[in-house]
Every structure is written in C-alpha cells, then in structure tokens.
C-alpha cells in the first residue's frame, strides 16, 4: 500500500537543482572604488596616467599595470582600511611611488538566496592616509562620493 516509488520520486524533486541556487551573472556585487585621474595644474581636466603599477600592500601580485584616466580597484572586505602602493613606471629617471591607505566602514545588504549579501563601503574621516614620505607623483586627493554603492561614477579623484 505504501507507495515507495512516490517517496523516491519526492526525494528527486527535493534534491534537484533550482535556478535559485545560482547567483545570476550581472547581479551587482560589492562595488569597487573608482578613481579618476586629474590634472593638478588644471583641476577641471582629466589627465591619464601611463604604466601605473597598482599593488595592494601585503600582496605579492600586483593588481594591474594601468594606463588611462579612470580605474576601479577593489577594497578589502571586513577590514577598516585598504592599502595600495601606486608606482608610476613611466616616470624617469627614478620611479615615483606613493602608498595610500583608504579608510572605510561598510554595511552589508541582502540581495537574494543565491548571491547572499553585498557590501557597501563608506569613506571614514579622514578618508585616506599617505603612507610614503617626501615627493611622490600624487599632488592631491579628493573624494567625490562618500558611499561606494555602485560603479556608475567615480568616488575618488587623484590629482597629479
């Protein structure tokens, strides 16, 4: 009388995979910090950097070697700060290097079952420390947006 086949059938349904289990591609995750490079002599204008080596302090591998006027770099989740070393490899004869510490707090927002939570960073006050002494290539740093909720526009401007 007991439909064992039904029990088996039911188990199949329960254990089967669902669309729910996969975080769909294109779901916005934790936003990276977008840096815009600007000209310190003419603050209205963008000024591209060339061959800028970006490496997180404590990391062996560099994040990227970058040329252009704006870049997105990831911040460190569950940390109060993120440290990056930025070396301008195009400068000659000596390499100009600056190390920055970005101070941030975060709050996490639930997205859905498959993706879980995403983090949103907020700049602390002061929002950065310069870790290197003396003359570097960075002249000034300015924040544009306090909350790093998306990657639609820049959060930080670096004047050089």
């Amino acid at each position: 009388m007991i439909p064992r086949s039904l029990i088996f059938f039911f188990a199949l349904i329960v254990l089967s995979c669902e669309k729910d289990d996969i975080c769909l591609e294109g779901t916005p995750g934790t936003a990276r910090m977008i840096i815009l490079f600007k000209d310190h002599e003419n603050p209205q204008l963008k000024k591209a950097v060339s061959k800028l080596l970006i490496r997180g302090l404590g990391q062996l591998d560099s994040l990227t070697i970058f040329s252009g006027d704006s870049i997105a770099i990831p911040l460190r989740n569950n940390f109060e700060f993120t440290q990056y070393e930025m070396t301008l490899r195009s400068s000659s004869p000596t390499l100009l290097s600056d190390s920055l510490q970005i101070n941030h707090t975060q709050f996490d927002t639930y997205i859905n079952r498959a993706c879980g939570y995403k983090s949103t960073y907020i700049f602390e006050n002061p929002f950065y420390y310069r870790l290197t002494q003396g003359e570097g290539w960075i002249k000034n740093i300015e924040k544009i947006r306090d909350t790093l909720s998306d990657e639609k526009s820049s959060h930080l401007a670096i004047y050089h």
Partner: protein
C-alpha cells in the same frame, strides 16, 4: 513552475490509483449492500479520534545533526468521509545556503480537513484522501556567518562571523495553504500508518530585516522565484473510537 507541474502529475497519479482501487471494491460492496438493505439500518460509524507523530522527522534528525524536528498529528472523523485534521510541529534547522549559514527555529500549526475517497469494506478503515490545511509558523532566524558577494577576488574574501548582520531575528511568521494527497492504512488493531504529500502555497510572511525567510518550519524551503513549496509526512497514529 516546472515543479508545480511535476506535483500536479504526482497528485493526479495518486488520484488515478485511488480511483482504480475503489472501483474494485464497488462490485463487492454492491453485494454487501444488499444484505444491509434488508435490515433497513445504516451502520453507524463511530467518531474516531486519532493522534500520533510524524516518523520522518525524528529519522531525519538522526541522520542530520543540524536538524531537529517533531510533529504531532491528529484527526477526528466529523461526518461521512470528512475528517478534521491538525498538525503541530517544532523544527530547528541549521543549513548552508550558498553564501549564508543560518539557523531557523520555530513552531507551526496546521489546521484543515481530509476527505476520504476510498470505499472501505465493512470493518475496514483505510483511506486514500485529499485534504487542505491552513498553516502558520512562528519562528526566528539567525544568520551564523556569510560570505559577501564579491566579483573581484584580489583581496581574499573573508567569511563574516560577526557584525551587524550576524544576529537572530525573532517574531517571524508565515502563513500558507497546503493541498494534500495521502493514504492511511490500518496496521493492527487501532494503529494506523500514513503517508502524505503536500503542495504548499505561501500566502504571506513577515521577513527579517535585511534578510529573508530562507526556511520556514512546516513549509520547508522558501524560494526567491515562486511561492510554491513541498512537503511530506509519514505518520503512525493511534485511534480511539468514540461511540455516540
């Protein structure tokens, strides 16, 4: 939606089986009825009160250390083939759901009725039934740890074990309707064993702040995509006949 179709198929299959087996009995019953007719007296069936437990939950609790469950079931024959039915349960389940580890604890109550479609021989009391329940859970949910959703893995993504989102939220509720197909067989004397499949439709739920009810006691897994869920139970019940 695919799951719903599979369920409809399962239920209709159960119905077909029950339809067939009742037909076999009809012929036999026709003979039996002739005898009863001469007496011009309809047999008065007793109000039967049955109560017991769902065996599947303690078994699952034995196999899975992150699960505890207990369900008390009861039903009473109201009139003809209608039974009033109740299920009262308690569950505690810890699970890893993709990036979130959570624990759900709570109690649920289901109230409704069963309609028996199986024509019994005299003295038999088996049933193949369809039923409906209204379910309500009272639960709380705790996020134990989670891994934030990062697209970039330059910095190692740490699993967050404390912080504002690592918390327990209580006074959560969910309400749903169940459609049931099941069988119940008399084993010995007053002991019955039963099995039922349940299709659940979530009506409403109070969600935790900045989170969701990923599991609802009594309802089972809640999905993002639709309001349907599924469940089953495997009961052993003891019947007390009440003659009025």
């Amino acid at each position: 939606m695919k799951k719903v179709h599979i369920w409809l198929f399962t239920i209709s299959l159960t119905l077909t089986v029950s339809g067939l087996s009742s037909q076999e009995v009809v012929a036999e019953e026709a003979l039996a009825e002739e005898v009863i007719d001469t007496l011009k007296k309809r047999e008065k069936k007793p109000y039967t009160l049955r109560f017991g437990i769902d065996l599947s939950k303690p078994v699952m609790a034995q196999m899975d250390k992150d699960y505890f469950g207990l369900e008390l079931v009861g039903d009473i024959r109201l009139y003809s083939e209608f039974y009033g039915a109740v299920e009262l349960g308690n569950e505690k389940k810890t699970q890893q759901s993709e990036r979130i580890n959570l624990t759900t604890t709570g109690t649920y109550l289901k109230l409704g009725f069963d309609y028996n479609m199986y024509k019994n021989w005299k003295g038999m009391n088996n049933s193949i039934y369809l039923g409906m329940r209204l379910g309500n859970s009272f639960h709380n949910q705790k996020v134990n740890e989670y891994e934030p959703y990062e697209l970039n893995h330059y910095w190692e993504t740490e699993i967050i074990k404390d912080g504002p989102e690592i918390r327990e939220q209580d006074a959560l509720q969910a309400r749903w309707i169940e459609i049931i197909a099941g069988i119940r067989v008399k084993m010995i004397n007053n002991i019955y064993m039963g099995f039922s499949l349940r299709l659940n439709r979530l009506m409403s739920d109070t969600r935790p702040v900045n989170f969701d009810n990923l599991y609802i006691p009594g309802f089972n897994k809640k999905t993002d995509e639709n309001v349907w869920g599924a469940g089953f139970n495997y009961t052993i019940t003891y019947a007390i006949p009440i003659k009025l």
